[in-house]
C-alpha cells in the first residue's frame, strides 16, 4: 500500500477511542493462558487455560446482557472475532 496521508479527523477519532472505555470484554492471551477482561477495568473477569473456555465465558456475559460485546484477540493481539 502506498504511503497514505491520514486526515487530522481520522487521527483524532482513533485517539478519542482511548478516552472512553466501552462496555466491552476482551479475550486476550496471557502467558499461555487466556484472560477475559472488561475494558477500563483493573481486574480480570477470569483466567482460563484455553481460548475456547474464555470465549465461552465472554459469550455467556454478552448473551446475559452484562456487556455490549466482546472482542476475541489472536496470539498476535489482533482482533479476530467479535461476539455480539
Amino acid at each position: 500500500m502506498a504511503e497514505k496521508k491520514l486526515s487530522r479527523s481520522l487521527i483524532s477519532s482513533v485517539a478519542e477511542t482511548a478516552r472512553n472505555p466501552k462496555n466491552r470484554l476482551h479475550v486476550i492471551s496471557r502467558n499461555g493462558r487466556w484472560v477475559v477482561k472488561k475494558e477500563g477495568a483493573k481486574r480480570v473477569v477470569g483466567i482460563y487455560p484455553t481460548q475456547s473456555q474464555a470465549i465461552e465465558i465472554a459469550t455467556a456475559r454478552v448473551k446475559a446482557g452484562k456487556t455490549d460485546d466482546a472482542i476475541v484477540h489472536d496470539l498476535m493481539g489482533r482482533p479476530a472475532q467479535k461476539i455480539v
Binding site: V14, H26, I28, N31
Partner: protein
C-alpha cells in the same frame, strides 16, 4: 527529538514481521520514547545514509537478527540487520561523549542461536522472543525499565493496551473505508502517528 529519547529500530519491515514490529513500536511509544526507522522516502535517497543518521542520533537501539537466516529451502539469509547492528556497535565503540554510552538490545528468535552464527556479539544484551509478540513486549519492557532506571508499567498492562489499541484502530479505520488489507499493510509511519496520539489520550485518562 533529543538524542536521549530516540530509539533506532533495526528489523525487517515485511508483512511477516509486522506482528512483532507493531508491538515493538507501541512499547517504545509507551515508554515515551521516539522510534527511528529506516523508511526510505524517495528512491534517490540512499537507505544506508538514513540508517547512519538514525544510529548517530539515537541513544538506544533495538536490533532484531532473528531473520538473518534463510526462511525456506530456496531463500537466502538476510544480512541487512547484522550489518546495521555492526554500524551501531562501531558508533558506540569509536564514538565520543554520549555516543560512547549508547545502549542496545539484540533480539533473536531462539535462545543462544547467536552463538552459532555471530558469537562476537557475546556480552551484549541479547534476548529471544520466540516470534511471540507478548514475550517481545515483556522483554522490551524489562530491558527499558533497567536501562532507563525508572518505573515502567507492567508488561501485562502494555500488552493488554496494545490489544485494545489494535481493536480501536481496526474499527476506526474500517469506518473510514480502509479494507482489511489496507489495515494490515498500514505504513509504519501511519502506525506510529496513530499509536502515539492514542497513547497520549490513554495516559491522560488512566494516569
Amino acid at each position: 527529538m533529543p538524542f536521549e529519547s530516540n530509539v533506532f529500530i533495526n528489523c525487517p519491515f515485511d508483512k511477516f514481521y509486522i506482528p512483532l514490529l507493531q508491538p515493538m513500536l507501541f512499547s517504545v511509544l509507551y515508554f515515551r520514547l521516539n522510534p527511528l526507522i529506516s523508511e526510505t522516502k524517495s528512491s534517490g535517497q540512499v537507505r544506508v545514509d538514513q540508517i547512519k543518521k538514525h544510529i548517530f542520533n539515537a541513544q538506544y537501539s533495538i536490533h532484531d537478527i532473528s531473520r538473518s537466516e534463510a526462511l525456506g529451502k530456496n531463500d537466502l539469509p538476510r544480512f541487512n540487520m547484522p550489518f546495521e547492528m555492526g554500524l551501531d556497535f562501531g558508533c558506540q565503540a569509536f564514538g565520543k561523549g554520549k555516543r560512547a554510552y549508547k545502549k542496545c538490545l539484540v533480539f533473536e528468535k531462539k535462545k543462544y542461536h547467536y552463538l552459532k552464527v555471530i558469537s562476537d556479539i557475546g556480552g551484549q544484551d541479547i534476548e529471544n522472543h520466540n516470534d511471540n509478540p507478548e514475550e517481545l513486549v515483556r522483554k522490551l519492557r524489562n530491558w527499558f525499565a533497567a536501562v532507563l532506571n525508572n518505573h515502567q508499567p507492567s508488561p501485562t498492562l502494555i500488552w493488554e493496551d496494545y490489544n485494545k489499541f489494535l481493536t480501536d484502530l481496526s474499527e476506526r479505520l474500517k469506518a473510514d473505508s480502509f479494507s482489511e488489507n489496507d489495515i494490515e499493510s498500514l505504513p509504519v509511519s501511519n502506525f506510529i502517528l496513530l499509536a502515539r496520539e492514542w497513547l497520549q489520550l490513554r495516559k491522560k485518562v488512566y494516569r
